[in-house]
């Protein structure tokens, strides 16, 4: 019986000791944020916003797909005001599921280029991430590199490294290729990519970079900020890895390098709609754009903003201006196609 008593005491103490999470009932101005971004530097954004506006931010950080499911389950009771994701495909899905509401804002429209936001204002991009080719400086000359399409060429047989096809960054890259060339061509391309792989796709972008440095392959596909992060690392081993790597922006002579967005939308049932719009506008302000750029080495969406010194040294590049709404919508077709082609 002592055991049961112990268990009961544990339960009671537990219920008393935990903070209760009823954020929506506070009297002060609040904003409830569901975010798929997982960067510590984002905390600085929240602090800055709170300092300016006096609005207190409540955050749930998690996987965007599951946050979307949570919003679906919560329905019109959902406390979420703003949903932030790290790629366009998820924003497209949230909009399709009726989780976002259109926002008309002259400020947002003037700050964010057309192709980086939804045509009807259902969502807006706040940072760009360029998906580039990273090569081993000692084994590959940049002159050998040209386009994403070229990575399917047999000359890269056994030399290419890329993560799994189910990753959102690859889904959106392939979605942009589908928009450019149509499915049959892209499926043939994906087959070529699968044949050229140095190993079964595994790990994240950083793992591909480490493998290039270790010599398991010669070229990799990665987002730029992972390279920047290695270069900026306090760990000398990381910097040694990054020193072996070169960054190449593909497709400079045609449509440009694929850029994905990290963006957000105002939830369709947002209890604090005014604060939510204000928050999105804040994210497009100079201060917030600088935190994105310097904190996580992402590219700001607003033209003429400061870059992190590391990505600045790679210089300007031509970016693919196909709308994020288009390659986002191509995500499911891209997944099927890559699996058919044998890209894990």
């Amino acid at each position: 019986m002592a055991l049961i008593r112990l268990a009961l005491v544990a339960v009671l103490l537990g219920l008393l000791a935990l903070p209760q999470g009823a954020a929506a009932q506070q009297p002060e101005r609040v904003l409830n944020l569901y975010t798929g971004r997982h960067y510590d530097t984002d905390q600085r954004l929240y602090d800055l916003y709170s300092a300016f506006t006096g609005v207190k931010i409540y955050v749930i950080q998690g996987d965007a797909d599951q946050l979307i499911q949570r919003m679906v389950s919560e329905g019109r009771n959902s406390p979420a005001d703003v949903l932030i994701t790290v790629d366009a495909g998820r924003l497209w899905r949230a909009e399709q599921l009726g989780l976002c509401q259109p926002v008309v804002s002259d400020y947002l429209a003037s700050r964010i280029p057309d192709h980086l936001r939804h045509p009807d204002g259902y969502w807006y991009g706040f940072t760009k991430r360029a998906r580039v080719i990273v090569y081993a400086k000692d084994r590959v000359s940049p002159s050998e590199l040209s386009t994403y399409e070229d990575l399917a060429d047999p000359k890269w047989r056994g030399r290419l490294l890329v993560r799994s096809s189910s990753n959102v960054y690859n889904l959106s890259l392939t979605g942009s290729l589908i928009a450019a060339h149509g499915e049959p061509f892209v499926e043939e391309w994906a087959r070529g990519i699968a044949r050229n792989l140095a190993r079964t796709p595994q790990g994240g972008d950083t793992d591909q970079l480490l493998a290039v440095a270790a010599g398991q392959g010669d070229v990799a596909i990665s987002n730029t900020y992972y390279v920047a992060r290695l270069l900026a690392s306090s760990n000398p081993e990381d910097r040694a890895v990054a020193e072996k790597l070169g960054v190449f922006f593909p497709n400079q002579n045609d449509r440009g390098t694929h850029v994905n967005i990290s963006g957000g939308c105002v939830a369709s049932n947002a209890p604090h709609r005014a604060e939510a719009i204000e928050f999105l506008e804040f994210l497009a302000s100079d201060g917030a754009q600088a935190i994105f750029a310097l904190g996580n080495h992402e590219y700001p969406v607003v033209a003429g903003q400061a870059l992190s010194p590391i990505i600045e040294q790679w210089g300007p590049f031509r970016e693919d201006t196909i709308s994020a709404a288009v390659f986002g919508a191509n995500n499911p077709r891209a997944l099927l196609l890559m699996n058919r082609a044998g890209w894990r």
Partner: protein, 508 residues
């Protein structure tokens, strides 16, 4: 929710995807489950037998050392081991430096690698249950078998193993279910299983119905396996015949060395090496937020774990009793069905839980009982999710314990006019002490490590250690994730050692 999905029309995209990938996924799943199941069974039973039945130097320390790999979340063990053993890692890099091109290029992120890591991560379930089984196993019967001239091997196979079978199977079932539900670690090893299929269907393809249909299929498979074992076990019951202290087998010098190697190997691979990896990472580039920020994380983790462990064990006692008293197959089937949540991938399950909670809130609103979110985003919702997910652990512990309590005790108590409740308090609970403690410990440690449900069901501004580790790891900042990982291990260690001492003390 999962059952309801079967009635929904199938999504054409999903059908196309299934046709492409499911054959491979199914084959991988079978290989993985069989591989992990067999190796965890052998490793868990062997170590439990050596530690409980043989004279080994350092036996008391080994006794709890062997549980330690449980303290690491599986996906962190996967990180640590790949960090060491993959192509770019120190082991293979060193080999390449020594032997140049002649060095074997081992693809550590593969099915065999996944089986190895999952075995190391999960064998403690078998070990714990088997040890409890051997300890409860009748000393008298073993003495008789010895008097009849049975050697240690024969006693083991003909007496001890059959006696401990319900316990061992209970542990093995947990291993199998956890292997089926495992996603993070398996994904890390670039192995696609049935769970990957569920994820792809749901999240990449955006087809919850298809994912639920796959999950229902998975549940049917698990249910079938468990039922099969019950049929194979037959109606035979094993009951504790009591007896004095167990006579331990003395071992020769060579045998001692061998036994020690067998027992230390999983401890080194599953605890000491990853501790070294994370320790080095944490010192070199730990989480900058370590300090005061960690106190709320630690508090949240520990309090959630203890609360969930208490609640779930109480629920398991109630359910275990319902089965024993009702003696109805229907009740038993119902109870076991409720425990299948353990075999469902965590994030699929937690999304199901969210749907239930959402429906509950809408129902409460419609009835005018409350406005807005009541259960959604509360600690209660989180505890409910843990209950659905981890009931199997506590239930298996209670059931395997109850199986060895002789029905004659119940009959005798009834004759003496003692009601079921007092029977439980006076007779069963003291006999079940080891099983209950084991169950509570496992739930506690599992909640501490639990990620998908915590991540998605939790309230605003509520982080735990596991969430912190995930945030850093998912941002590909492994070295910083080492700090919360080590804190989880430290928090998990205390109850592991305490339980082990409490249990071991009985038969010293």
């Amino acid at each position: 929710m999962v059952l309801h999905s079967l009635t929904l029309p199938a999504d054409p995209l999903w059908i196309e995807l299934s046709a492409i990938v499911l054959p491979t996924y199914l084959a991988n799943t079978v290989l993985l489950v069989v591989g992990v199941g067999l190796s965890a069974l052998v490793l868990g039973v062997t170590t439990a037998w050596l530690v409980t039945m043989c004279h080994l130097p350092g036996r008391r320390v080994l006794d709890w050392l062997l549980v330690l790999p449980l303290a690491f979340p599986t996906y962190l063990l996967a990180y640590a081991s790949t960090d060491l053993f993959e192509y770019a890692g120190p082991v293979q890099s060193t080999l390449r430096r020594w032997f140049g091109a002649a060095a074997p290029g081992i693809e550590f992120r593969s099915l065999p690698g996944a089986i190895a890591v999952l075995t190391i991560a999960l064998y403690p379930y078998v070990y714990l249950f088997a040890r409890a089984g051997f300890l409860r196993g009748s000393a008298t019967l073993l003495q008789v078998s010895r008097a009849l001239g049975c050697g240690p091997w024969r006693s083991f196979f003909t007496v001890a193993l059959p006696l401990a079978r319900p316990a061992i199977v209970a542990g093995l079932a947990l291993v199998l279910m956890e292997t089926l539900a495992e996603f993070g670690a398996v994904q890390y090893f670039a192995v696609d299983t049935f769970t990957t299929g569920i994820y792809l269907t749901w999240f990449a393809l955006g087809s919850p119905a298809g994912a639920m249909q796959l999950a229902a299929f998975l549940l049917a498979g698990v249910g079938g396996l468990l039922a099969l074992e019950r049929v194979a076990r037959g109606g035979g019951r094993v009951a504790d015949a009591g007896g004095g202290p167990l006579p331990r087998y003395p071992l020769g010098r060579l045998a001692t060395a061998g036994a020690l190697t067998i027992c230390l190997l999983p401890v080194v691979l599953g605890f000491i090496l990853p501790l070294g990896v994370f320790g080095r990472l944490a010192v070199e580039a730990g989480d900058a937020r370590l300090g005061v920020d960690y106190l709320p994380l630690l508090r949240n983790s520990v309090v959630l774990g203890a609360t969930a462990a208490g609640l779930i064990v109480l629920a398991a006692i109630a359910l275990g009793y319902a089965m024993r008293i009702a003696k109805s197959r229907f009740v038993a089937a119902l109870v076991r069905f409720s425990a299948l949540g353990y075999a469902v991938p965590g994030s699929v399950l937690s999304v199901g839980v969210l749907a239930v909670i959402g429906a509950f809130d809408r129902g409460a609103n419609a009835l005018g009982l409350a406005a807005g979110l009541v259960a959604g985003g509360s600690i209660g919702a989180l505890l409910y999710a843990y209950g659905v997910r981890f009931l199997a652990i506590a239930l298996n512990a209670v059931e395997s314990g109850l199986a060895t309590v002789r029905p004659e005790f119940d009959a005798a108590a009834r004759t003496l006019g003692i009601g079921p409740l007092r029977q439980m308090a006076r007779i069963h609970l003291p006999l079940l002490r080891a099983s209950l403690l084991t169950g509570a410990l496992l739930v506690f440690v599992d909640v501490l490590k639990e990620l998908p449900a915590t991540l998605i069901v939790r309230p605003f501004n509520f982080d735990t250690l596991a969430v912190r580790a995930y945030q850093l790891a998912s941002d590909e900042r492994l070295s910083e994730a080492a700090t919360p990982a080590l804190t989880i291990v430290a928090a998990g260690l205390v109850p592991v050692i305490m339980t082990s001492l409490a249990l071991g003390g009985r038969r010293r």
